[in-house]
Amino acid sequence: MSDVLVLAEHHGTEVRKVTFELITAARDLGTPVVLWLGSGCDDSTLASLGNFGATKVLVVDSAEVSDHPVAPGAEILASLIGTMQPAAVLVASSADGKEIGARAAIKSNCGIITDAVAIAPDLTVTQNVFGGSTIVHSKVNHGTPIITLRPNSVSAVPESVTAVIEHISSDISDGAQLVSIVNRNVVEKGARPELAEADVVVSGGRGVGGAEGFGVIEALADSLNAAVGASRAATDAGWYPHQYQVGQTGKTVSPSLYIANGISGAIQHRAGMQTSKVVIVVNKDPEAPIFELADYGVVGDLFAVVPQLTEEITQRK
């Protein structure tokens, strides 16, 4: 079976859940080989990659890769496409994943399909486009298919193998080092699950009224072990940090359950949550367009409804 190259999505030693989803998807297409850029691939991360079926982990850990965004990764990926001739390359639909994939596609003369939600063994890709209203099946017909997979579309299924690690050296060209990362600003994310990966997301919008109001949203989220999301109105107002924004220019989420509180449902917000499996809405305006997406909705004041809901959940657990 040919190799399928998977670009690991990680933050230091912390492997993102989507990496396990990518490896799971790769198993249907060939033998998963993981490319790990930068530091953080220690014994436990290696074992965790093996738990999902990664046979080999190629590590490029150098200052060239860590200190410059995107371009070095694309160079390494393109050179591996040349030497390994994998059946396909799978990367996450994140900013880095898409851009590394895009640049490698140009370098290697390969077609690229973004935002896959499923990949069939014959490399036919399923996408949900136009806010989930249309399902498209397509296929790369030139070079090695490069496919970016949306987080939370494929479930990660363990299949234990012993992954071997191989450190590979790489000469990164000057042209790939034109941009330097001078500082990584990490905003504390706390104990809640990662927004893009969470199975349940509880979001708040302008209706939450202020930073303090997010207390009731967080309490509900914690009762469901959920991630907290926010509309742009809430992040712009500074009530909640920017990286929790859901929508066109925020995160795209596709959880099993999305609870929208005090959010009107602007098209840019929907673009980031429309493919959620079950949507619950709390909004005091019965005309709010977000109700169009609701499986279950309550017209009412979120400050009455949400705490009551949290209380009920806590009691029933």
């Binding site: 371009a71 895009a102 640049r103 209203s133 399902i135 099946h137 600003n185 994310k189 017209v299 009455a304």
Partner: protein, 259 residues
């Protein structure tokens, strides 16, 4: 400072978007074409930088005849000139071909900065800025929520999953912006009048010395096998809170096994 801003005409944000049965490409005729929202933020950034440092802003677009309106709309915000790549052979171009066309149109014009919106509302791929910078061999600073230029050094904040990265590069740089970067201005009446007289260069595929076989639907490196409208979601239940709204949601969550 010489700045190019690449913009795209997209179907009106609220319009229902559909693929055409015969070509599996977006039906662009059935909806009003508007300037891609995020591109307005790109134009605004370029205008602010030129206002602070002097220079000129050139709007660049690839698209059918009627994309000329969108080009003028972007110019009316205060830009100096436009480049419109228009050619019947370009219809159905994928991201790979589009990036080749834009790179050719931008090449050799000594732009210090090439600015994009980070995503179009129709295709939503977010790959064109990276592809163009790859083709031109230029520094790539994308998903920027903040951009500053001092002399020939650019400093920016790239939005990441965990916060943001502060990046630096020396001009020329390809930039893409997210909507946090600024508040785009509305075109003034004066701007709208002036835009009518601003020079717009029209270029064909042949003018760009591009192989006609390398662009358009026939050159796409991926093909659509089939597509279907997703069955509309069954209408949900909406109740009015009369004191037990929260409990009723909890009941729904219990029935659907979330608790």
């Amino acid at each position: 400072m010489k700045i190019a801003v690449c913009v795209k005409q997209v179907p009106d944000t609220w319009a229902e978007k559909k693929l055409k049965a015969d070509t599996s490409t977006l039906d662009r005729e059935s909806a009003d074409g508007v300037l891609n929202e995020l591109d307005e933020y790109a134009v605004e950034l370029a205008l602010q930088l030129v206002e602070a440092n002097s220079g000129e802003v050139v709007i660049v677009t690839m698209g059918p005849e009627r994309a000329a309106e969108t080009l003028r709309k972007a110019i009316s915000m205060g830009a100096d000139a436009g480049i419109h790549v228009v050619d019947a052979g370009l219809g159905g171009s994928d991201a790979i071909a589009t990036s080749a066309v834009l790179a050719k149109a931008l090449e050799g014009r000594d732009f210090d900065l090439i600015v994009f919106g980070s995503e179009s509302t129709d295709a939503r791929m977010s790959v064109i800025p990276a592809m163009v910078s790859e083709r031109l061999g230029l520094a790539q600073v994308t998903f920027a929520q903040k951009v500053e230029v001092e002399g020939d050094t650019l400093t920016a904040e790239r939005v990441t999953d965990y916060g943001f990265d502060t990046l630096t590069a020396t001009l020329p740089v390809v930039v893409s912006v997210v909507e946090k970067i600024n508040e785009p201005r509305y075109p003034s009446f004066k701007g709208i009048m002036a835009a009518k007289k601003k020079p717009v260069e029209t270029l064909s595929v042949a003018d760009l010395n591009l192989d006609a076989a390398a662009v358009g639907a026939g050159a796409a490196w991926s093909e659509v096998a089939d597509f279907a409208a997703r069955p509309p979601k069954a209408a949900g239940v909406v109740v009015t809170d009369e004191g037990a709204g929260g409990t009723s949601i909890a009941d729904y969550l219990t029935t659907s096994k979330f608790i």
